[in-house]
């Protein structure tokens, strides 16, 4: 008989740019070791996961991270009093730092987390990625942070050339082929995500992604490389396939060994025509396509659950090549009373 555990997680926004919460929840529900009750942590009433009762057993509304982590901690204490949470998995980039800062207090309450350290989190920020690459011997395209339009144009002239990648602090990236495009994308990204904006050398090649898990002691517990086979108008992968490329797995192993990364992550990589691998970005949590790791034979969220609760888990090296994910949209029918209950009480 499997042991019962309760896991709270966020990222229930399975919309056109989906959060990873539902994929993580599905993976945990298929854990071979635990019978997992999933508690959803939602920020807004229209996050579809709130109403997906097969995946999420119960959902609570929580305050935005911008309200400060003390406010969030108080809310978690209320939820914990009702649900006895064993583990919390934050799935948004923007909430990771508040959770990293709260992890000691959460541990005192008996709630586990499995997060990178503050230093690891900061080191892989887009603006710090070049230093990160130098420190750990990883090829990274030249990148520099820009704090204003004039600053950006000067840095493009001094450090790189067109085309150049113009990237938001947290999300979104565009290729600018001219000064005018760079200014347009700067303003667009700064208005949406704030500054700095990151300028990155454009590397011509094929883009790949790796979903991986590190145990925090330098061991790669699992890694699955994937190539997106369908990309939406907004640049999101809507389908992908697992591939056999040892260079990509090796990059994940090297990065996790060197940094002693703790937790799930996604590497965004580009391979140029000479087969050189460049690290473009590190997302410090599981990606929305993490359920593909389950399909390919590596249930990385379930392995992370074991690690977080103090159990041993063996590193996995095998995965099935040629496994695909294809997303779809689906109209749920929701009773008004469910919507009303969540809107008024913050629970469903």
């Amino acid at each position: 008989m499997k042991k019962s555990v309760t896991v709270a997680l966020s990222g229930l926004n399975v919309v056109d740019s989906p959060g990873p919460g539902i994929s993580v929840a599905r993976a945990l529900k298929e854990s071979p070791d635990f019978d997992v009750k999933i508690i959803g942590l939602a920020y807004e009433v229209m996050e579809p996961g709130i109403y997906m009762r097969n995946e999420i057993d119960k959902t609570y509304q929580v305050p935005f991270p911008s309200k400060g982590h003390e406010v969030l901690l108080e809310r978690i204490k209320e939820i914990h009093a009702k649900e006895s949470i064993d583990l919390i998995i934050p799935n948004f980039d923007a909430e990771l730092m508040p959770y990293i800062k709260m992890q000691k207090k959460l541990a005192d309450l008996g709630i586990a987390t499995f997060l990178p350290t503050e230093e690891q989190f900061d080191a892989r920020l887009k603006g710090n990625l070049q230093d990160f690459g130098q420190k750990y011997g990883i090829s990274v395209p030249k990148s520099v942070a820009a704090f204003g339009v004039e600053d950006m144009l000067r840095k493009i002239d001094n450090y790189t050339q067109y085309p150049v990648m113009v990237k938001g602090k947290f999300y979104e990236a565009y290729i600018a082929h001219s000064r005018e495009q760079a200014v347009y994308y700067y303003n667009k990204l700064a208005a949406k995500w704030g500054t700095p904006i990151i300028l990155q050398q454009y590397v011509k090649g094929r883009e790949y992604n790796v979903c991986a898990l590190g145990d925090g002691k330098g061991t790669l517990i699992g890694a699955v490389p994937m190539r997106k086979t369908y990309i939406t108008d907004t640049g999101k992968g809507w389908a992908g396939i697992t591939i056999k490329d040892d260079d990509l797995v090796e990059m994940a192993r090297h990065m996790i060994e060197q940094t002693q990364w703790r937790g799930g992550l996604e590497l965004e990589l580009i391979k140029d025509e000479r087969e050189n691998v460049y690290l473009i970005e590190i997302n410090p949590r599981f990606p929305a396509w993490v359920y593909l790791t389950v399909g390919a034979g590596q249930n990385q969220p379930a392995d992370m659950l074991k690690l977080a609760l103090g159990y041993e888990t063996e590193p996995r090296t095998h995965f099935e090549v040629g496994k695909m994910f294809i997303r779809y949209s689906y109209d749920m029918i929701v009773d008004l009373q469910d919507f009303a209950q969540f809107s008024s009480t913050g629970e469903l």
Partner: protein, 83 residues
């Protein structure tokens, strides 16, 4: 005789679906393409492939040689083999 090397990560199914496991690319080929890729996988050189195709199809040698070369060039451009 020319030896060509098919990428070791290339798989072809019975219905002509070609998958490059390293790149994640997939393609469809016809029966003739299937024969050629199948023979490449078994290590046959171009002379042996030409001889086999001449036996199976009603076509003159020079035309077949040109078509085979075009097909191999296409496979190379698709990262499926090295010429």
């Amino acid at each position: 005789m020319k030896s060509v090397k098919l990428n070791e990560n290339v798989a072809v199914s019975e219905n002509g679906f070609v998958f490059n496991a390293q790149k994640g690319d997939s393609f469809s080929t016809n029966d003739t393409g299937k024969i050629i890729i199948g023979m490449l996988q078994k290590g046959h050189d171009t002379d042996e492939i030409l001889a086999e195709l001449l036996q199976q199809f009603n076509i003159d040698g020079p035309t077949l040689e040109k078509d085979l070369y075009d097909f191999l060039k296409t496979l190379e451009q698709l990262n499926l083999l090295s010429l």
